[in-house]
Subunit: 253 residues, 2 copies
């Protein structure tokens, strides 16, 4: 019998689970489920969840996650969570330095996005309750701390918003480079097309008797404007057609 | 009379405004106001807003933004919006290619974060109504298109969540590098401290009679583990103390 995928390959392909601890508002659970679905995460873990009514706010906020992420959520205890996963606790408030290890050192979601893809093994992103977040006792049992950089005067994000940003930053763990956006690699028009566009600009400058001594400078400006805009081939060809007609237009009546 | 700050300097320092077009839910307006406050944005523009009741959902979701961003919001028409600002319309659905210019080319919030800091001038990030977002007619009047990369199977984010991610990505326009997070530049312990830690590991290996032929390999592993973890000076010194006591402990009774 051939073992086509080894267990470690399997683990490597599993994006992190998302754990929500003691949320008070079903709406926030729904918002988090929706963000999970938007960024390709599937495994929702709930510790001491509020009552989740299929006709209530959680399902109302979940969007299409009402079809899978939310009904498939797993309820478990905080102890089971920290025993079964490498846990990353999200908090707005960190310690200032290493006088306390409870909330320090921390990483940012962008740091995690750089590091986690190289690590296989079950991982859970842990979000705490509204208002007070994860407690120091909970954070002490968690493997590492993650904090979203925000306004020093008001860094405390709403629970659903914090989870949304974290999942957005970590989307490549779940989606790879496969998003709804078309590939942008070949957007810029070919150089030959752009050169024809610039030649047509030069012809227009001549046709409108733009002063000789200014032409080189004006052409540099034209290049700079279109150089920054990275026109597509269609845009460049459309502009080229317009300029050609402007250059070659019949004598005014 | 001395003009201490030129108008263009002033403009350069102004982060983008945030415009919400025809939102149906006051709660979403509150959520966006909160994200603005979390990431340092101040100027909220409302086109055809829902009724915003100081005792209602908008203020309920706004957190500390209830003190300034939300009550200071400006109501204006869509025409005034596009006349007064360079507008960046946010949409989940883009065109696939340049057969239509309505939703193509687009940039991502991360692209904007790279480009906008070099441009002065009034700019507004424009978010559309729930469910259908900005219409094609609206997008046709807008200067550029921004789209958040998401799950191809379900790229449509909730309005508040889309704005939260966009403002998070653009936070440096409003906050610079000034966030609640302490400076991480000097977190890693000095090399001398780490060298003492490794020396103490070596002494422990000797004390516990770790086989001679394995010591070099084990020491490389120890270096790799601590090398990746970037211990702080306090962590390194605490570990050093523990290892020293493990090495020098009195003979067991």
């Amino acid at each position: 019998m051939t073992d086509e995928s080894s267990p470690s390959d399997e683990t490597a392909r599993t994006p992190p689970a998302v754990a929500v601890v003691d949320a008070q508002s079903p709406g926030n659970v729904g918002t988090i489920a929706r963000a999970m679905k938007n960024f390709g995460f599937e495994d929702l873990l709930l510790v001491d969840p509020p009552k989740i009514d299929p006709d209530g706010e959680a399902y109302g906020f979940a969007g299409h996650a009402r079809e899978d992420v939310l009904p498939d959520a797993t309820e478990l205890s905080f102890d089971d969570l920290v025993d079964s996963y490498h846990t990353i606790g999200c908090t707005a408030v960190t310690n200032e330095d290493d006088n306390s290890h409870v909330r320090f050192p921390y990483t940012t979601p962008a740091d995690l996005a750089g590091r986690l893809p190289t690590v296989a093994g079950p991982t859970a992103l842990v979000f705490g309750r509204e208002r007070v977040g994860l407690t120091n006792d909970e954070l002490a049992q968690i493997d590492e701390i993650c904090s979203i950089p925000a306004n020093a005067e008001y860094p405390v994000l709403n629970l659903g918003q914090a989870a949304t940003i974290t999942l957005y930053e970590l989307r490549r763990l779940a989606l790879g480079d496969d998003t709804q956006l078309p590939d942008l690699e070949r957007v810029r028009a070919p150089e030959q097309t752009l050169d024809r566009l610039y030649d047509q600009w030069a012809a227009l400058l001549e046709e409108i008797n733009h002063p000789d001594e200014k032409r080189a400078k004006t052409m540099r400006m034209v290049r700079r404007v279109f150089g920054r805009a990275d026109p597509t081939e269609r845009e460049a060809n459309t502009l080229l057609g317009l300029l050609r007609r402007a250059t070659e237009r019949p004598e005014e009546k």
